[in-house]
Amino acid sequence: MSVAVSAPPSQAAQRESGYWHTAWNEFRHDRIAVIGLVVVILLIICAVFAPLIAPYPPNEQLPDGLTAAGYPRPPDAQFLLGTDPLGRDMLSRLLFGARISLTVGLGSAIIGGLLGLGLGGIAGLFGGVVDKVLMRLADVVLSFPILLLATAILAVTQAGVLTISVIVGIGFGAYLARVVYTQAVSLRERDFVLAARTSAVGRGRVLLRHIAPHVMPSIIVFCTLGVATAIQLEAALSYVGLGIHPPTASWGNMIADGQNNMTTDPWLVLFPACAIMLAMFGFSLVGDGLRDALDPTLERTLQVRLAGLR
């Protein structure tokens, strides 16, 4: 009795696609991830072109920014998203706040990514004392809640986009270093690394050209998800007064400014809140989509291993 079988794929066709091409294809078809990507792109446009898009200067107290009685104006034709207690235009402030959030987010992701790749890779590749010292250091940083670390440092230093990015970046870097380290360790025993090292290639080059491509997917996914976390952290820090200080607009300090008037002028809090959620939403979806696209083996492995009942 014969059993019908479907045709096998051509091996050559698969090879030609290449890794990134296949990944992009996967990503493209993941509708949810694409939505996230659209959101992220819109946010980036808002942030980059804020000076061009914003109807008013963000920090300027406008002459008709307040009502006759001196209260913030609700959303209307002139001020699309209303004004804040100091008569400043909410829409403009939100757009400039996007700059802050995205800068901190991307900045800390890049710093964290470099730190993690560098330290984790070095530790994994060199082994020995360097390995132990670096990884212990990473563990200590990891055990220390990032908010508390930021609080301690920001209490005494001048808060700025760079400072915050560095602090959050260090937190990420520690986590990523662990991930990169484990992968580097498993890779270093593989033949191609040994071959590279025996051929007098400097260890730095080995790191860059051989190890990095293998850990790149994890790093990309991690950094994307990290942007979401960084945005949240920056908002929280600005909210409690540790992060970006007024008059510079940050979504976090906008909420702080508006919280006392929340019952009468809810838009003061709701709009920045929505902005934060939207940004985190976008980056999280993109990060999840990237993870599914770049490492499809995960759920497939589960599919084979989960023995089902008939």
């Binding site: 009795m1 059993v3 079988v5 479907s6 045709a7 096998p8 794929p9 497939r300 599919q303 084979v304 291993r305 989960l306 023995a307 089902g308 009942l309 008939r310």
Partner: protein, 339 residues
């Protein structure tokens, strides 16, 4: 209790069984048109390289194929029941109670956070309705029977606290506790030392004879089947290529693959100058639908006919009844390697 009571008297009859796995690269036919009958108390060996479908066959018998696998055709009759088309409720009553499986790696097939004793009593309570106390007593007896000393203490221990050999014995105890009709052992000794292998095989043989259990022994190691089984099936690329009584197949193999397997076994009386005979090439991956005999690319006796036509499993010429092989070549005159 059921110490000496013989197990149920049904044959396990497998007819033209085929299973398919769906993977991202296409479909694999893991088992193709396999038929075998196992009588009560009989020990049947299923032999082949990794990937030949022997484990898929075992899983298919009890409906334990993973989510991407299914039985595509055939029947598995245990008495009146067709396991291949039975619902999950029926299968659950059969599994463990009438057909039990022992897997290769006892470290991963036993629950790491549950004491050994409970893993044995679980089946006793579930299938035989014993009380907890009765089950515990019985579990201790079982452990002693399978050769685990200090059974009382071991009952309370966890799998990682036992050595590999003891652990596999415990796994066997778990499987035979409820006195199943059929015991399937999938590579039970592959992960163990050779000396422990021998002891474990003796144990399996003894338990099966005493209880009237049928044994299906799955392995890639011909040495293992030689001592324990009454009949063997040789599988290649999901098909049975030769079957018959163990003694006859070993003495008079009629399929080139069987010959090659026998020849590749290291022999005690070989000299240093005799080289190990490996079988050149690799088994097919199973994706493509092959025309002709799947062993053709690696066969030393291949003819043109072999590449075009699939040989049927037929009774061999000039051999005893029950000896079947799927080959066009006449292996009776084929040269065997020396000594």
């Amino acid at each position: 209790m059921n110490g000496g009571l013989a197990a149920g008297g049904d044959d396990l009859v497998v007819r033209d069984l085929s299973t398919i796995y769906a993977t991202s690269h296409g479909q694999i036919v893991a088992v193709r048109d396999v038929s075998v009958t196992v009588a009560p108390g009989e020990a049947v060996g299923i032999v082949g390289e990794s990937g030949c479908g022997k484990t898929a066959l075992a899983l298919a018998l009890v409906g334990l194929l993973p989510r991407n696998g299914r039985i595509a055709a055939g029947e598995v009759m245990l008495g009146d029941i067709d396991l291949a088309s039975a619902g999950s409720k029926v299968l659950r009553t059969i599994r463990g109670r009438r057909i039990a499986i022992v897997f290769q790696d006892s470290m991963t097939s036993l629950d790491p956070v549950m004491p050994i004793g409970r893993q044995i009593t679980e089946g006793l309570i579930e299938h035989l309705g014993l009380s907890r106390k009765q089950a515990r007593v019985r579990a201790a007896e079982l452990l002693t029977e399978v050769g685990v000393p200090e059974a009382g203490r071991r009952l309370r221990q966890f799998p990682h606290q036992l050595s590999g050999g003891l652990r596999q014995r415990a796994a066997i105890a778990v499987a035979i506790a409820v006195n199943p009709d059929v015991l399937i052992a999938d590579e039970p000794t592959t992960a163990l030392d050779v000396t422990i292998q021998a002891q474990l095989l003796d144990l399996l043989e003894r338990e099966c004879r005493q209880r009237g259990m049928s044994l299906i022994l799955i392995t890639h190691d011909l040495g293992v089947v030689a001592s324990v089984t009454d009949r063997i099936l040789v599988m290649y690329a999901g098909r049975v290529v030769e079957s018959g009584t163990t003694g006859v197949v070993f003495a008079d193999p009629r399929h080139p693959y069987t010959v090659a397997l026998l020849d590749s076994m290291p022999r005690l009386d070989a000299t240093l100058r005799d080289r190990l005979q490996a079988i050149p090439g690799t088994p097919p991956t199973g994706y493509a639908e092959l025309a002709g005999c799947p062993f053709a690319p690696r066969c030393g006796h291949v003819m043109d006919r072999c590449r075009a036509e699939m040989p049927a499993l037929e009774m061999v010429t000039g051999g005893p009844e029950g000896h079947h092989a799927a080959c066009f070549a006449d292996m009776t005159t084929a040269p065997r390697s020396p000594a």
